[in-house]
Symmetry: C4
Subunit: 200 residues, 4 copies
C-alpha cells in the first residue's frame, strides 16, 4: 500500500501521545501555589523532556517513511510496534515524575523503568529501520550503502546510550532525565547536519 | 463521496482510541514500586493486547477501504458503527484489567463484557464488509468472487472465535486475554499471507 | 484558502470529541459488577447517543464542506464556533449521565443544560450553513435555489426540535436522551434520502 | 521536506489540545446543580477563552505555513517549540480556573503563570515567523518587504500585550482572562482585514 495512510495514522498517534503528556500535570489548589508548583518540578521537567523526545522521534520517523515508496505488512506491523513504545511513554514519564518528587518513594525503580521504556522505543526504531534497508524494493529513493551505514549508526547509537542511562538510574535518578534531554539534543544537531537533512 | 475524508476521520478515531489506552495505567506512589507494579500486571497485559488488536483492526480496515472507489451514506453509517465499537474498547479493557487484579471482585462478569465488546466489534466489521461486497458499484478494484469469499471467511471467523472466547470467561478469565492475543496473531499472519497483502 | 486543512483540523476535532466520550464511563471495582453496571445505564445510554449524534454531525459537516471550493476567514471562524459546541458535548453528556443515575440529584437542570448545548450546536451549524449559501463565490458546486432551500429546512429543523426537547427536561429528563436519539435517526434517514446523498 | 506532513502533525496537535480543554470541566454531583455550576464560572470562562485563542493561533499558523514551499529542520524544530507552548495551554488554563473560584487560594500567582504561558507561546510564534522570513529559499509565495513588515508587526504585538496582561495579574486576575479574550478578538479582526486574508 501507499505510505500515505500509514503516515496519517502515525502522525495522529504521535500528536496524541505528545499532547496527552499535559494531562499528567497536577493542578494544585489552595494557597502558596508557587511553593506547591516548585515541589512539582519533576513533573514539569519530565513533561518538557518527553515532549521534546517524542517530537524528535516524530521528525526522524518522518525522515524514515520519506524513503519509502510503499509499505508492506511487515512495515505496518513494525511501525505499530514502534507506535506501541511511543504511546507507552506518558506512563513511565508520569512514574518518574511522581517518584522524583520530594519525599516520594522509589526513585531508582522508576528511573529504571523510564530508561527501559526508551530502550524498547529505540530498539523498535532500529528494527523498523533495518527492515526497511533490507527491503530495497520498498524504497522510493536510491540510498547509497554509505548513506544507509551513516543513518544506521545514528539510529543504533540510541540503544547503547539508553542502556548507559539505565545504569545511571542506580546512581542518580534525576540525571536520567538530564541524559534523556541530552540525547534529544544530540539527535536534533545530528539530524540538522546529516547530508539528507534538507531533502527529508 | 470520496473515501479520503472517511479515511482521515477513521484514522483519527483509531489513533486516539489506541493512545487513550495508556491513560488507564495507574501510576502507583510510595515505596516498593516494583511490587506494586507486579500487582498491576493485568493492566499492562490488557494494554498490550488491546493496543495490538486495535492496531490489527486498523490495518485490516485500511485494506477494506482500499477496495472502495467511493462511499455512500450506508458505508458512512456502518463505518461509524464499527468506530463506535472500537472507541468503546478502552472501557472493557480497563474493566477486565481492574477485575483481574489480585483480590478484586468479579472476574467472570468483566471477562464476559470484554468478550461481548469484541463480538460487537467483529460483527460490525462483518456487516461493513458484507455491505461493501454487495455494492459492487462502490468498488474501485475488481474483486473476483474467489477473493471476496476468502476474505469474507477471514473476517467472519472472528465472531464465532470471540463467542468461544466468551465461553472461557466462565472457566478462566485470564485465558480470555490470552485468546484475544492469539486471534490478533492469527490476523497478523493471515493478513501477511493473503494474496492481496502486497497490494493493500 | 483551500478547504483541505480546514477539513483535516475539523476531522481531528470530531474524532477526538467522539473518542473522549469513553473516558466518562466509570470502571466500577469490587463485587456485583453486573448490578453496579446496571446502575450506570445512563452513562452508557448517554455515551451511545452522543457518539451517534457527533457522528451524524460529522457526516453532515462533511456534506457542507464538500460544497466549498475555498474558505474565507468567515468560514474559518464560524467553523471554529461550531467545533466549540461539538467539543463541549462531552461535558453536558457526562452531566446528564451523572444526574440520571438512581438517587442522584438534579435531573431537570442537567437535562436543560444538555438540551441547551445541542441548541447551541444546531444554531452554530445553521449560521455556518447560511453564511456559506450567501457567499456564492466560495461554492465549488452549483447549488440550485431549490437544493439550498431543501437543505436549509433540514438543517434549520434541528433548533426548534431541540427547544421542544428542552421543554421535556421539565417533564421527564430521561426522555430528553430518547428524543436526542430520535433526531439523530431522523438525520440519518433524511441524509440518505436527500438528492445529493450519493454525491456528497 | 514538503510541508504536508508538518501541517498534518500540527493540525493533530492543535485539534487535540483544543479538545482536551473540556476534560478540565468538573461534573458536579448532588443537588443544587445550578448553584454549583455558577461557582464553576471561571472554568467555563477559561475554557471558552482558551478554546478561542488556540483556534485563532491555528488559523494564523495555517497562514504562516501556507507561505512555505518546503520546510527545513529549523522550521520543524521551531514549529515543535511552538506546539510545546500550545500543548501546555490546558495546564495554566486549569490553574487559573481553579484559583479564580470563590474561596480558592492564589489568584495572582495563577494569573501570572497563565500570562507567562501566553508570552512563551507568542514568543515561540514570533521566532518561527522571523526564521521563515529570513529563509527566503523556503518561501513558496513571493512576499514583499511591506507584507512581511505588516505581518511581523501583527505577530510581534502579541508579546508586549501579554506582558501588559501579566502586570494586570497583580491588580485583578479576572481581568487577565478578559484581556486574553480581547487579544483573540483583535487577531480575528486584524486577520480578516489583512491584505492576504483571502489568499491564505
Amino acid at each position: 500500500m501507499s505510505t500515505k495512510r500509514l503516515e496519517a495514522f502515525s502522525d495522529g498517534v504521535f500528536a496524541i501521545a505528545i499532547t496527552l503528556l499535559v494531562l499528567e500535570l497536577n493542578v494544585p489548589a489552595g494557597d502558596h501555589l508557587w511553593d506547591q508548583l516548585k515541589d512539582e518540578w519533576p513533573s514539569f521537567a519530565a513533561f518538557f523532556v518527553s515532549f521534546w523526545v517524542i517530537g524528535i522521534i516524530w521528525v526522524n520517523h518522518h525522515g524514515v517513511l520519506d524513503h519509502l515508496a510503499r509499505a508492506d505488512r511487515g512495515v505496518l506491523y513494525l511501525n505499530l510496534l514502534l507506535l506501541l513504545t511511543v504511546v507507552f511513554i506518558p506512563f513511565p514519564t508520569a512514574l518518574l515524575a511522581e517518584h522524583l518528587k520530594p519525599g516520594e518513594g522509589d526513585e531508582t525503580t522508576a528511573a529504571v523503568i523510564y530508561s527501559a521504556a526508551f530502550i524498547a522505543m529505540s530498539f523498535a526504531y532500529g528494527v523498523l529501520w533495518t527492515y526497511i534497508t533490507k527491503r530495497k524494493d520498498l524504497l522510493g529513493v536510491e540510498l547509497t550503502d554509505e548513506q544507509i551505514r551513516r543513518t544506521s549508526i545514528r539510529f543504533q547509537i540510541g540503544t547503547p546510550f539508553y542502556i548507559v542511562q539505565l545504569a545511571f538510574a542506580f546512581i542518580s535518578p534525576a540525571i536520567v532525565l538530564a541524559l534523556n534531554a541530552a540525547l534529544a539534543v544530540y539527535y536534533m544537531v545530528a539530524g540538522m547536519r546529516s547530508p539528507d537533512a534538507e531533502d527529508k
